[in-house]
Structures are given as structure tokens and as C-alpha cells.
């Protein structure tokens, strides 16, 4: 073969490489999604997005989504999931209200503790009885939905009015920063975070390298539960009420945030922390933007459902997917 022919052949081979491949697109998609959402609403609402008042609203919205997502990314990285976080938040909020009736300060441990216990139940059922996280937490969600109605006796609970004063930007912003930064460090730079991803990548290989996978699989459920409990508490001081509707949107928002951030719904080792941050922001802007536009609660749900479907269609790794755990 002459050198010319060879050169032509290599050229052909190289030019075959697509300029913009599908995996590349999946990498860019989350940032692109965020930018598109912001620009869209900024134009549509005539510049109302970036006002001081609205920024506060966005932080209020993003607070819940982001903290929920921080807990969720650890589960996802192992290929687990938790469908009961919204219901958990609801029960924990009620528990916090019950605690506050005794002493307002008790609201915090009651909320977080209840959440952690529910999370521990999820983890125990999943690890000990080897029931898929999908089924175990879905069942837990139904149980909690029923349980909270019994707890509230069909009505609602109000904490002492003084507690509403706790709902300050300072407290929320500090909590938010601490959890997001701590989550980042644990996820990226500790043995725990790395082993979570190892389990998500190949459970058997992790086991055969000495990873105690029962404990490793149990813990993220507890952390997730505790965070849901914390959100329950914040919901109580924000809205001043615990009702069976508390936390209704959390599950959808968090799952949507993870997907919009580019984490495949099957989770696994490719789960990225930055995905959680970007996805949560997108969700916060999306929710807020729709509120600015005056979209009703149920219409919002409908739109989020469609967004969910689109995000799944783009991020779903069909080739490496075998079964939802």
C-alpha cells in the first residue's frame, strides 16, 4: 500500500469520529438545561427572575431540593433509591410539631430522629430481607402516607407561633452551605464516598475487595432519612403547619433534579456530585419560574412530569441497564 493511500485511509478513519457524540451531549445537557430554563423565564416574565425578592424565593425553593438531593446522590451512587422521602418528610414534620408542643427546641431532634429511624427501617428492609430498594421504599411511602393521617387525626398540627421566627435566611443559608459542602467532601474525598461508588459500579467486586457492603448499603438510607427529617423541621417553621400534604413534591423534585443533572435513573458509579447541584438549581428555577408565570399547582405537576419523562429519555443508559434495583 502506498503512503498516499494510507494517509487517505487514516483521514477517512479520523473524520468518521463524530464532532458531537451522544456521550458528549449527555455531559453538556445539564448545564444547557439550566441555562435554557433561566433564559426562558427571564425573557418570559420580563426580567422578574433576577430580583432580590425572587432570589429569596428561589433559595427557599432550592433549599429543599438541594438538601434532599445531597442525601439522594449517595443512594444513587450505589444504585439504590428511596421513594419514601416525601412521606418521610411529612411524618417527620408531624413528629417535629408534636415535639414542639412539649418544648419548641425538641422539634429539631424529633424531626431529624424520626426521619433517621424511618430511613433505618428502609435500609434494614432492603439489606436484611434483600428486598429491592425500589419496592421497599415504595411500600414505606404508602405506609407513611397512611400513618401520618392517623397521627394528625385527619387534621393538621400547628407549632407555637414563636417558632416561625426561626425561619430566617441566615439559618437556612448556613444549614444549606454546611450540608452541601460537607456532602461534597464526604462524597468525593472519603473512603465512604468512594466505596459507595464502588458498590454502584460492581457490588461483587467491591465485596471481593473487602467492602462491608451490608453496612455500606444501610447507611445512606439513614442519612437520607435524617435529611428528610431535617427538611420536615424546616417545612414546619416555614409554613407553620404539619399536614398530610407536607413534602408532597419533594420526591418528584429530587428525582427530577438528579435526572436533569445527568445522573441516570439507574444510578451507579457515574453519579456525580456536581450533577446534583446543577440539577437542583434547574429544578428550583423551573419551579420558581412557573410560579412567576402563575401556573397552578396541578399544572406544575403536569409540566414536571413531562420534564421528568424527557430527562429520563435523554439520560437513561439503555445499554448498561439491566434491571432497576
Amino acid at each position: 500500500m502506498s503512503a498516499d493511500v494510507k494517509a487517505v485511509l487514516t483521514d477517512v478513519k479520523e473524520s468518521k469520529k463524530p464532532i458531537f457524540s451522544y456521550p458528549d451531549f449527555r455531559k453538556v445537557f445539564p448545564v444547557l438545561g439550566l441555562v435554557v430554563v433561566i433564559i426562558f423565564f427571564q425573557i418570559y416574565t420580563g426580567g422578574k427572575v433576577f430580583t432580590l425578592k425572587n432570589m429569596k424565593a428561589i433559595i427557599n425553593e432550592g433549599f429543599f431540593i438541594m438538601i434532599g438531593s445531597v442525601g439522594y446522590v449517595f443512594l444513587l451512587s450505589q444504585g439504590s433509591m428511596d421513594f419514601s422521602i416525601g412521606a418521610n418528610m411529612c411524618v417527620s414534620c408531624t413528629a417535629a410539631a408534636l415535639g414542639a408542643a412539649i418544648n419548641p427546641l425538641l422539634a429539631i431532634p424529633f424531626g431529624i430522629g424520626t426521619g433517621a429511624i424511618i430511613g433505618a427501617c428502609n435500609g434494614f428492609i432492603h439489606v436484611k430481607f434483600k428486598i429491592g430498594a425500589f419496592i421497599a421504599t415504595l411500600a414505606m411511602q404508602f405506609i407513611l402516607n397512611g400513618f401520618v393521617v392517623i397521627l394528625l387525626n385527619g387534621g393538621t398540627l400547628q407549632p407555637p407561633l414563636a417558632m416561625l421566627k426561626w425561619n430566617t435566611m441566615t439559618l437556612k443559608f448556613t444549614t444549606f452551605l454546611v450540608i452541601v459542602i460537607l456532602g461534597y467532601i464526604v462524597f468525593e474525598f472519603t473512603t465512604y464516598g468512594k466505596r459507595c461508588r464502588a458498590i454502584g459500579s460492581c457490588e461483587e467486586a467491591a465485596r471481593q475487595t473487602g467492602v462491608n457492603y451490608s453496612v455500606m448499603k444501610f447507611l445512606p438510607f439513614v442519612v437520607m432519612g435524617a435529611l428528610a427529617g431535617l427538611l420536615g423541621f424546616f417545612s414546619l417553621i416555614r409554613t407553620g403547619t404539619a399536614s398530610s400534604h407536607t413534602g408532597e413534591e419533594l420526591m418528584m423534585n429530587v428525582l427530577n433534579a438528579a435526572l436533569l443533572g445527568g445522573i441516570p435513573i439507574s444510578g451507579g458509579a457515574t453519579s456525580k456530585y456536581r450533577a446534583v447541584v446543577i440539577g437542583s438549581l434547574t429544578m428550583a428555577f423551573l419551579t420558581n419560574g412557573m410560579t412567576l408565570m402563575g401556573v397552578g399547582t396541578y399544572d406544575k405537576q403536569l409540566i414536571k412530569g413531562i420534564v421528568f419523562l424527557i430527562a429520563i429519555a435523554i439520560s437513561f443508559d439503555r445499554k448498561n441497564m439491566t434491571v432497576i434495583k
Binding site: R197, S201, A205, A269
Partner: protein, 503 residues
């Protein structure tokens, strides 16, 4: 050599059959001839292509190339059902029955229509018919209405046999079934084979039991590493010659150890005491410091369980695996505390996280020692990975490359780097050179020699006898889960000699 027989007595012929799995050539232009009224034995070592060849004939998988003829007509079924219709039935090595169904439904699977009227199956009629078939093959002790899940493995095999015989095959393929059968079961099978012979039909019979083959077969086709070696007819049968043909590959032994001295250190670092598992029976041995202890045997002799028990992955029913200070190995984490490392035979599923990158794989075992305070910093990870990847000469773009993109040899190097970096003293290597090209194979052998010289101990479990002989200070041969022979390096060990202990 070959058998001079009349061409019109030819029942089945396979020409130039070729099949590869990745870089492995499972069948390399293999020929096979089966005559009417003949029982043809098929023999060869693990991975010689026996099962591949027969499963192609039974249309369980397609060949890459090659032609088959049955009674002179081209034969190319696409599915097993089609093969069955053309008169070819196969009894598999593995279980091929459905536990949840009754015996009768298993026998008539896919043929339920025969007994249905207006969409309703007449179970009584089906049971009667099934019982008749079972009675015919003299397996009346199995009742047609029984649920198959309640039968033992042997009876399940007999049900499969009944199912095959109902189809009235002209060619019956029996793939290593007799090991699962007791004397009675074997007699049933032998009688069926004899009957088929009398009726001028044909049987292809795979077995590892040479005596059984010599007794039952009219001719023997020998395969080795996917290559057709020879076909012997009955009067040429000679156990010694057959074994020689089975293993007679050109052994390029220059990359194994060249010394002939076994390890003289008697310091015991690890031992098995009367270990019992599903596949191991009363296995005891001691591993010495600086020793390579090899385990060989047939694929199902239980040797792979030795590695799993030693690393605490498999709990023995009885007996104990203990380290030098007498502590039992309970789980992998604890085995690692004792500086034991294990690389599974199933590299891609169990030893490596193929969908993670090289860095995460190499570091996984060593996070505790990479800590700076409570954190694993990227800089310390990078330093660690660079050292071991360079040490083992892993061919990669960078350490962020996914392991699944690497070749088999480089994957194995990543697995080895993980444990070398961890600093293990005892290495359990299960088929460490499986599916690996000769270059990397040689690297791995050199590494083993180096580790041995450093006083590390290695348990080498391998299905490749030359490797076990070539590398081990001591070789233990297992047969049906029991130790059947032990040899030190100084003895003149040959493959032929070891095969006597294996089968």
C-alpha cells in the same frame, strides 16, 4: 488414520466447523463424522471445544462458518426445535428442565397442543402418555404427575432423556451427563444408546471418564484446544495413546519457572483443615512461606471453591481455613487484615469494577492507607496509581480510562496492581491467565516468580495443567472435590501422569 466405512452409512458429517469467542478460537476447522449404528465418543480437555461443537450441532448456538450434512443432505437448523424436527436431540451438561412444571409438562413442553381441545389441555391424557414414555425407558419410578422440583438431579436428567426419546431422534447427543447419574441411571442411558445403535441410529457421547468411553464407544474423536486431533476406531483404542493425544500440545514452557527446586521453607502461613463445602470433601493442606501451591483438576472438581473459602467468600459447612496464628478466615475484610488477596476466575464480574476507571480499581483495596487525616486526597491517589501502574506496565491512556476499554491482559494487570499496592502476603489467583495473550501471560509468570522470591505465598488455581506444573512448588490434584494426588516440583510431573489423578 481414519475409519474406512461406506459413504452411504454416513449419518452425519460436520466439515470445517469454526467458532470464536473474541480472541479465543473455540473451534478451529473441526471435522466430525458419525455413521449409522455408531456410538461416537468425544474427548478432550476443558475448553477443547467438545460442548461448543455439539451445541452447534443441536443448534443451541450458530457456528461462524462450516457445513453440516445429515444423511447427505445439507443440515442447518436455526433453532433447537428445528434440530429436534430434523431428528437431533441433545442432553445437556446443565439442568434443562423446569422446576415449576410437572414431569409430564416438562416432557411435552412446546407440544401441549397435542393434548388440547378448544384451548383446554387434557392433563390426564398427557400424564398417561408421559408415563408410557417413562416406562419405555425403564424409569417407571418417576411419576408423570409429579412436580419436577421434587425430583433429584439424576431424575431430572432422566426426564430430559425421556423428552428427547419421545422425539424419536436419529442422533442423540449426550454431553457429560453420566457424572450426574447413579448406576441405575447410567444403565438406563446405556441401554438407550445400545438400542439406538441396533436401530442404525447414531449417538455422540461426551464424557471425561475414559474407561466409560472405551467400553461404550465404537469410535473416539479427540479434540484439543479447538482443533481436531484424530478419530480412533474401537480396535485402535488404547487409554495411554488417547491421553497422549488429548494433552499433546506443544508446550512453550520457556516462560514458566526453569528451576526444579521446590520451596524448602516449612513455615506454615495458611492452612485448610478438613474443609467441606457443596463441592469440596475433606480438603486439608498447608501453604508455606514463599511457596507457589498449585491446584489442578477438571473444571468441576471443586478447585475454584478453594479460593473462595480461603478468602472468606464462601463459608465451609465444616472445617476451618486458618492463618498462621490459628485464626479462622471469616469474611473478605478480615482476610485482608491477614494480608490475603484474591483474584476471582470471573475477572470482569468479580475481580474488577469494569465500569469504573483504572484509578478507582487500583485504589479500592488501599483507601485506609491513602488517608490524609479523614480524607483521601486526589494527589495521594494519583501517586499511588502511577507507581503501581508503571510497576506493572499497564498499557493505558491515563488512569481515568475505564477498565472495560482495556484488553484482558491489562485488566488482569489492574487487578494485580490493586493487590500489590495493598501489600498482600498471600495471593490467591484463580485462573490468572485466563483469556490472556502470551505476552502478558509471561509477565504474570515473571511477577509470580518475583513475589515468591520476596517470600510471598501464592495459591494458584488453574484449569491449565502446563501452567500449574510449570509454576508450582507443589501441585495438588483434585477429583470430585477430594485431593487425589500431591506432587512436589522435583518429581518428574507430566500432564499425562496428572490426568490419571484427574479423571
Amino acid at each position: 488414520m481414519g475409519i474406512v466405512m461406506n459413504q452411504q452409512d454416513l449419518l452425519f458429517q460436520a466439515d470445517e466447523m469454526y467458532k470464536s469467542f473474541g480472541i479465543t478460537k473455540a473451534l478451529n476447522n473441526v471435522n466430525l463424522k458419525l455413521y449409522k449404528g455408531q456410538i461416537l465418543g468425544l474427548i478432550g480437555e476443558n475448553g477443547s471445544g467438545k460442548s461448543t461443537l455439539t451445541s452447534i450441532i443441536a443448534a443451541i448456538q450458530p457456528a461462524d462458518s462450516g457445513k453440516m450434512y445429515k444423511t447427505g443432505q445439507p443440515y442447518s437448523p436455526k433453532t433447537t426445535v428445528e434440530a429436534n424436527k430434523l431428528g437431533v436431540c441433545m442432553i445437556l451438561q446443565e439442568k434443562g428442565t423446569f422446576d415449576q412444571l410437572t414431569v409430564a409438562k416438562n416432557i411435552f413442553i412446546g407440544k401441549e397442543d397435542m393434548f388440547s381441545k378448544n384451548g383446554i389441555i387434557n392433563n390426564r391424557k398427557m400424564n398417561q402418555e408421559a408415563q408410557k414414555i417413562l416406562d419405555d425407558i425403564k424409569a417407571s419410578h418417576i411419576r408423570a404427575e409429579m412436580s419436577l422440583g421434587r425430583l433429584n438431579f439424576e431424575d431430572c436428567k432422566l426426564v430430559e432423556l425421556a423428552r428427547a426419546m419421545y422425539m424419536n431422534p436419529q442422533i442423540l447427543i449426550v454431553d457429560e451427563t453420566t457424572t450426574a447419574l447413579s448406576r441405575t441411571g447410567r444403565d438406563i442411558l446405556y441401554e438407550i444408546m445400545e438400542n439406538m445403535k441396533k436401530e442404525k441410529k447414531g449417538v455422540i457421547f461426551i464424557s471425561h471418564d475414559i474407561d466409560e468411553l472405551l467400553e461404550k464407544c465404537d469410535a473416539l474423536t479427540i479434540l484439543r484446544d479447538g482443533i481436531y486431533v484424530d478419530t480412533l476406531e474401537r480396535k485402535q483404542f488404547d487409554a495411554g495413546e488417547i491421553k497422549r493425544l488429548m494433552v499433546g500440545r506443544e508446550v512453550a514452557d520457556n516462560y514458566y519457572r526453569t528451576d526444579l527446586k521446590s520451596c524448602k521453607n516449612k513455615e506454615v502461613v495458611f492452612q485448610f483443615k478438613d474443609i467441606q463445602t457443596d463441592s469440596l470433601k475433606d480438603v486439608s493442606f498447608e501453604l508455606h512461606k514463599g511457596e507457589i501451591l498449585g491446584f489442578g483438576g477438571l473444571a468441576d472438581c471443586g478447585m475454584h471453591d478453594i479460593g473462595k473459602v480461603a478468602f472468606g467468600l464462601l463459608k465451609p459447612a465444616e472445617g476451618a481455613a486458618t492463618t498462621e496464628n490459628g485464626e479462622n478466615v471469616k469474611n473478605p475484610a478480615q482476610a485482608m487484615n491477614k494480608k490475603i488477596a484474591y483474584i476471582s476466575k470471573n475477572r470482569d464480574q468479580e475481580a474488577l469494577m469494569v465500569s469504573s476507571n483504572i484509578k478507582d480499581n487500583i485504589c479500592l483495596a488501599s483507601y485506609p492507607k491513602l488517608l490524609t487525616g479523614p480524607l483521601v486526597l486526589p494527589a495521594s491517589e494519583k501517586k499511588f496509581v502511577d507507581k503501581w501502574a508503571t510497576d506493572l506496565e499497564i498499557k493505558m491512556q491515563n488512569s481515568s480510562q475505564y477498565v472495560m476499554e482495556l484488553s484482558g491482559g491489562n485488566k488482569q494487570k489492574v487487578a494485580l496492581a490493586k493487590w500489590l499496592g495493598f501489600g498482600a502476603d498471600i495471593f490467591i489467583l484463580d485462573c490468572p491467565t485466563r483469556g490472556i495473550d502470551i505476552g502478558v501471560k509471561s509477565n504474570i509468570y515473571q511477577l509470580m516468580i518475583k513475589l515468591r522470591a520476596e517470600g510471598k505465598s501464592i495459591i494458584l488455581i488453574s484449569e491449565e495443567l502446563p501452567e500449574v506444573i510449570g509454576m508450582s512448588d507443589r501441585t495438588i490434584i483434585l477429583k470430585d472435590g477430594k485431593i487425589s494426588g500431591e506432587f512436589v516440583r522435583e518429581e518428574e510431573i507430566t500432564e499425562t501422569k496428572l490426568i490419571d489423578y484427574m479423571v
